[in-house]
């Protein structure tokens, strides 16, 4: 039985939300999960939240950026329309995130999102609020988005399940683009069955998104788990120990464990960031100060000055990425950076496809333990980018992957991820479902059982 069916059996869902309202609002104040919370007393259906970079008609959508403050989309993103059509969901709110998705720890936001297990720790990014909301609320599903690990990382840090589908299987229409060839709308939930339930609703070809593809997803499972040696050689020793215990458990579940080597897989980080920044720099060019959100009142300024003044509303990481993205696309160095990155992606897709035809890749989600806020301050941007080394390969190549909690270390959840070949999405949901039969999730908050 999935959470939705359980929820539907509640006697008075409206009462449930009224009782929850005060507690949730107070908790939200502490954790910064939501940018907007709907009038909870009006919610009578299954509660969902939507990441703040996905357009929701008549509800402010800012991608956590000051430059989009006040932007009210006149339309719903296709995923939101599909959910609304079901008439069985209520929108709880828009969830906090790193500005435009630029971040791995949820700290590039006006109000940093805090980890519900311990507020001294980061929640992970960029879909920080979606993971927090799911972690504190029973019967809740969040629609999130991943470019390079934005679903897996916060899911792992907040102890929930995060699913990133095959690129193109869910429409991106209505998503505030970060990187068109990398962005994927996905799902964060407490259990794999909730992921399956929502995926069935939101997937499919959309005439408004020419990169969406209508292919039936499979669930081929040859009971083989593959460990990529280069992906597990530089992880924190405590994480490594727990991860090897997880591998052992999969072995006992009947999976054959194999090792493979892809020596150039580490190049995925550079390839990913070059492509992501190049595409981001063009996508952010539309924020000029007279359309969408922030309005520059000084219209007597000449266009270039007007544009430059308006763009001072970007956060520091956004400025850094626009500068780098513009540079790597410039004619004199394009072959050395942008073109090289695209060719590297081709090599990685080919090599990883061969491996994934033999089985599922299993790895930790992050090579480090969940960091505290003061530890993050000591990281340089490049060091932050390198922490994405495990989540980047599947994201760069558009492979479906799912992050799930498998242990708790000093009270904090630890997550692993399973990767499979294109369009084999249901197989990894099935495996996590199988895993959940023998694993007990811990949630610090369990709002919803009031």
């Amino acid at each position: 039985m999935n959470s939705y069916e359980e929820f539907s059996k509640k006697d008075k869902p409206t009462d449930y939300f009224i009782k929850l309202s005060e507690t949730l609002s107070k908790l939200n104040e502490e954790l910064n999960a939501f940018n907007v919370i709907s009038d909870l007393s009006k919610l009578t259906n299954f509660p969902i939240s939507v990441k703040d970079n996905i357009c929701t008609k008549d509800v402010e959508t800012t991608a956590s950026s000051k430059i989009l403050k006040g932007y009210i989309p006149p339309f719903d993103a296709t995923v939101v329309s599909k959910i609304r059509e079901k008439n069985t969901f209520s929108f709880l709110g828009k969830t906090n995130m790193d500005e435009f998705g630029f971040g791995s720890f949820g700290v590039n936001s006006e109000k940093c999102a805090k980890n519900p297990f311990n507020t001294s720790y980061v929640s992970g990014g960029s879909s920080s609020g979606s993971a927090i909301a799911t972690s504190i609320l029973k019967y809740h599903i969040s629609i999130a988005e991943s470019t390079g690990g934005s679903i897996s990382t916060p899911s792992a840090f907040c102890g929930v399940v995060g699913f990133t589908p095959t690129y193109g299987s869910v429409s991106r229409y209505g998503l505030i683009d970060y990187s068109n060839s990398l962005d994927k709308i996905g799902i964060i939930a407490r259990k794999s069955e909730d992921i399956r339930f929502m995926y069935d609703i939101i997937k499919g070809k959309d005439i408004y998104d020419t990169t969406s593809v209508d292919i039936n997803c499979n669930n081929q499972n040859n009971k083989t788990i593959i460990l990529i040696d280069e992906l597990i050689k530089e992880i924190n020793p405590e994480i490594e120990k727990l991860f090897l215990e997880l591998v052992d458990k999969f072995s006992k579940m009947g999976y054959v464990i194999k090792h493979k080597s892809i020596p150039f897989i580490e190049k995925a980080i550079a390839s990913y960031y070059i492509i992501a920044m190049a595409e981001a720099s063009t996508n952010l060019a539309k924020y000029t100060g007279f359309k969408y959100g922030f309005k520059n009142e000084n219209i007597s300024e000449k266009y270039n000055q007007f544009f430059t003044t308006s763009r001072s509303n970007f956060g520091k990481e956004a400025k850094r990425r626009v500068v780098l993205g513009t540079f790597v696309r410039s004619a004199s160095v394009k072959d050395m950076y942008y073109s090289k990155a695209l060719k590297t992606r081709t090599l990685l897709i080919n090599e990883l496809s061969k491996v994934l035809n033999e089985g599922f890749i299993l790895s930790p989600v992050m090579p480090i333990k969940t960091p505290k806020f003061d530890e993050i301050n000591n990281f340089s941007p490049l060091e932050v980018y390198k922490t994405d080394m495990l989540t980047i390969p599947p994201n760069l190549c558009g492979f479906p992957h799912i992050a799930f909690p498998y242990a708790y270390l000093n009270g904090m959840p630890v997550g692993a991820q399973l990767i499979t070949k294109h369009w084999n999405d249901y197989a990894i949901i099935d495996i996590v479902s199988e895993w959940e039969n023998n694993f007990k999730y811990n949630f610090k908050y369990n709002l919803g059982s009031i």
Partner: protein, 90 residues
């Protein structure tokens, strides 16, 4: 990248950095660009560029006209004069 080149790049991007950001972002940019050079260790001769991670059917939108009724919804996100969007001097 020296100061001149960096300033030219900022102008192209229409990005003005605060004094407090300038040195740190310039340092980060140089460090990251240096790191990106690891790709030069890979032989990619004869390899095609992957603009998308999956094969996308080569089909664009059908060229059809439809009436978008919510123009007010679009205009409310802009500063307007009568039915025009107010923008800067060109």
């Amino acid at each position: 990248m020296d100061n001149n080149e960096f300033n030219r790049l900022l102008k192209v991007c229409r990005i003005k950095l605060e004094e407090s950001e300038y040195d740190s972002i310039k340092k980060d940019v140089n460090e990251i660009l240096e790191y990106f050079k690891v790709l030069n260790e890979l032989d990619t001769s004869g390899v095609l560029e992957a603009y998308h991670p999956i094969k996308i059917p080569e089909k664009t939108h059908d060229d059809t006209v439809f009436e978008f009724k919510n123009t007010e919804g679009i205009l409310k996100n802009t500063k307007t004069y009568r039915f025009y969007v107010v923008g800067p001097d060109l």
